[in-house]
């Protein structure tokens, strides 16, 4: 009897092994909410541009994907600690990050946008006029780097972990203006009454890529191939048109 159980369990394990041979398991991390890229809909389901792109990519790669929610602060450490295998959470490609992680080819690029209250009439590129203003950015983003480098000594910079907290402070008049990823500002600031775009969008950085561990070079190649296919066969455009009125393809 005992032998039979052992044999049965060995057989079962082997069958399971065969079934999973083609499908690899991948865990993909997102930081939510970051509308419209990744957020939860009314039913609490994870959705958004990057989530749908990730789903399409997994299908293309024939992979079994699990989505993980991870706060932005712990993204790269979590990846390096093998808590997940891919980051698809609007991570812009920068030289500093590229020292720690391996990036795929960029899959989108959006500019940074200036948003403020209706009463805001200052030219954001005029440093003399901006002097003493309080500007909100998300900590560690390319927008943060831009404002820190270009306007560091001129304005007071407040850094936030999430876009929600920042918009709350803009509404509460603690901030004069925010500089945020354009689509995020469009969704969170412009959707409220009394706010407008207050300056020209600024093109920043090299775009957004999928981040992986340095040693996963094979995986990176597969990801690049899958993304290239999606961009060519129209799947990418279908998903993009669902969320954006303009082109963010790269």
């Amino acid at each position: 009897m005992r032998k039979l159980i052992v044999a049965a369990s060995v057989a079962l394990t082997m069958m399971a092994g065969v079934a999973h041979a083609q499908e690899r398991n991948l865990r993909i991390a997102f930081d939510v909410p970051y509308e419209p890229f990744e957020y939860k809909d009314e039913n609490g389901e994870l959705t958004g541009f990057e989530v749908e792109l990730a789903e399409a990519m997994c299908e293309e790669m024939n992979a079994n994907c699990e989505f993980v929610i991870q706060a932005w602060d712990g993204m790269i450490p979590g990846l390096l600690a093998r808590k997940f295998d891919l980051i698809m959470s609007s991570m812009s490609i920068t030289p500093e990050r590229a020292e720690r992680v391996l990036f795929s080819e960029p899959y989108y690029n959006t500019p940074g946008g200036w948003f403020g209250p209706e009463s805001f009439n200052t030219d954001v590129t005029d440093m003399a006029a901006m002097e003493g203003m309080t500007v909100g950015v998300q900590r560690g983003t390319t927008m943060d780097t831009f404002v820190t480098e270009e306007m560091g000594g001129v304005v007071t910079i407040k850094r936030y972990t999430t876009a929600d907290d920042m918009v709350l402070d803009l509404e509460g008049q603690r901030l004069d203006v925010v500089f945020v990823d354009y689509p995020v500002g469009e969704q969170t600031v412009l959707s409220k009454d009394g706010f407008k775009e207050v300056g020209e969008p600024v093109k920043l950085g090299q775009g957004v890529g999928v981040a992986m561990r340095k040693r996963d070079e094979e995986l990176a190649q597969e990801v690049n191939e899958a993304l290239a296919t999606l961009k060519e066969d129209g799947t990418y455009n279908t998903i993009m048109d669902k969320y954006f009125a303009y082109d963010i393809k790269m």
Binding site: R139, D144, T145, T161, L168, G172, Q173, R174
Partner: protein, 240 residues
């Protein structure tokens, strides 16, 4: 700057002059925030603790309610409510209050003060309640009034019993102040988070800040040991 220090700073990418200055700014903010809130909290807590020991429910009740609320909810939530909640009050931006609450420092100071005052109130209350009844009877036999008894006998005696528990509260407060960075305040933790997000080097940024917190803690522990020695002098053997 001494030469060996300048050389040390040149040898790495992260701990350069500007980074050290950012940590220094964070240290100043943390120390200001923690010490101001502790001093204000203690000043509020002493009268509240005396009220809390009153037998009259009209005096005792509100203080009980206050400590129950502030000890029963996380400090982070209190900070969120005070920082974001105040900004949502209709028209507050037009009043003079806004000059105070616009910056993150004062809402954080208010939250920390109210929180530490609640804990300190209960610490002092416990110490007051534990006063040996013999001491109070002796004071009464001398004909001391309530106020004189409180000032000369009960509070000094309670201070001796409460000081150890209070030193813990002070250290907890220092560590709890790390959450100030969630409301944009650049305290020690805020500086570490900024530096971490700039260089993506969590170990360097956070271990350095942990060492700074530890140094502050050791200074506090040292100061409290001196204070305990002073307060409990009469209990030591004569020749030590």
């Amino acid at each position: 700057m001494p030469e060996f220090l300048a050389e040390l700073l040149n040898q790495n990418d992260i701990f350069t002059g500007p980074t050290i200055m950012e940590y220094w700014g964070g240290l100043v903010t943390t120390v200001q925030l923690v010490f101001l809130s502790l001093i204000l909290g203690l000043l509020v807590a002493v009268p509240l603790a005396i009220m809390r020991t009153s037998k009259n429910p009209l005096i005792n009740g509100p203080v009980w309610f206050y400590t129950y609320i502030f000890r029963g909810t996380p400090l982070l939530i209190q900070l969120y409510i005070i920082y974001y909640g105040l900004a949502q009050i209709e028209g507050i931006q037009q009043t003079f209050w806004w000059d105070i609450f616009r910056e993150a420092f004062y809402p954080a100071l208010l939250a920390f003060t109210l929180n530490t005052a609640a804990y300190t109130t209960e610490i002092i209350r416990g110490a007051i309640v534990a006063t040996p009844s013999g001491e109070i009877e002796a004071a009464k036999a001398y004909g001391m009034s309530w106020a004189l008894r409180m000032r000369r006998i009960i509070l000094p005696s309670a201070a001796r019993r409460g000081v150890q528990a209070y030193s813990n509260e002070v250290i907890f407060m220092l560590h709890a102040s790390a959450i100030a960075s969630v409301v944009t305040l650049v305290d020690l933790t805020g500086a570490a988070r900024n530096i971490y997000s700039r260089f993506y080097a969590p170990f360097d940024a956070f271990i350095f800040v942990a060492l700074l917190y530890m140094a502050l803690t050791f200074m506090l522990v040292f100061a409290f040991r001196k204070l305990e020695n002073y307060l409990l002098q009469h209990q030591r053997p004569v020749n030590s």
